[in-house]
């Protein structure tokens, strides 16, 4: 099972901050992951936008990157504090 978390405005898109899924066999990398999550959540393309980055197991990744069931996957919209 993979835990998928949505941060900032992306939790407003999905209506939840976290979901747990068994990743389908065809979802082997971040590219397939983005397409699959976008369809599943009705993201209307938001999960395909590269400005929304992906962290896997608490590391922001350079894409494309392999994903496996069991990963902790986070979708991170643009950041900024202060």
């Amino acid at each position: 099972m993979a835990v998928i978390t949505y941060w900032g405005k992306l939790a407003d898109v999905t209506g939840r901050a976290s979901e747990t899924y068994a990743l389908p066999e065809q979802v082997k990398d971040t590219s397939a992951l983005r397409a699959w999550i976008d369809t599943k959540t009705g993201g209307d393309g938001v999960f395909l936008a590269p400005e929304n980055r992906i962290a896997i197991n608490d590391e922001i990744v350079t894409e494309p990157r392999a994903v496996t069931d069991g990963d902790d996957i986070a979708f991170l919209p643009p950041v900024g504090g202060g």
């Binding site: 941060w7 900032g8 407003d12 962290a55 991170l76 919209p77 950041v79 900024g80 504090g81 202060g82």
Partner: protein, 161 residues
């Protein structure tokens, strides 16, 4: 710093400055920056509060890496970052940065660099609540430009403008 950079309690800039200065041995220049939540947003709407969401590992790790980079780039005796998370009212301090060095230029530039990092690269998501509703807000183009000064300045410690 042994103390966490993140807090959900009010920040007192002058208390932090006092503690920071008391710990110094040989710095000649200390720069501080306090960021305060403003009562009106860019559209002139009255702001009720800001909500700052952090990530349980990425946020603090990133800030600590930025502090490490500041210490590598400038000869600092010490530097301090404290950032609010959660709900913050107008007039409250959202961020406090202090830097100390033998000479003032290093202290100014390191504080400026850390603030540019915090504004554009630190892992926070910011929601502004106004009378008109709530909206997630992202860094301004000017903030990205400001951070770019440090990235493009390879081989020099000085900011480009």
């Amino acid at each position: 710093m042994p103390i966490s950079t993140l807090t959900d309690a009010p920040i007192s800039a002058s208390d932090l400055l006092t503690g920071f200065q008391e710990g110094l041995q040989h710095s000649g220049g200390i720069v501080s920056f306090s960021g305060v939540v403003r009562g009106k947003n860019a559209e002139g709407e009255r702001v009720t509060s800001l909500f700052l969401q952090d990530h349980p590992t990425l946020t603090e790790r990133g800030i600590k890496a930025a502090i490490g980079e500041a210490k590598a780039r400038w000869p600092l005796e010490d530097c301090l970052v404290r950032h609010r998370v959660g709900s913050i009212a107008p007039g409250e301090t959202i961020v406090f940065v202090a830097t100390a060095s033998a000479h003032r230029r290093a202290a100014f530039e390191a504080a400026d660099f850390l603030m540019d990092y915090l504004k554009t690269k630190a892992v926070f998501w910011k929601k502004e609540v106004t009378e008109a509703g709530a909206a997630w807000i992202e860094p301004r183009a000017a903030d990205h430009h400001d951070f770019g000064r440090w990235q493009e300045a390879e081989g020099t410690l000085h900011a480009r403008h």
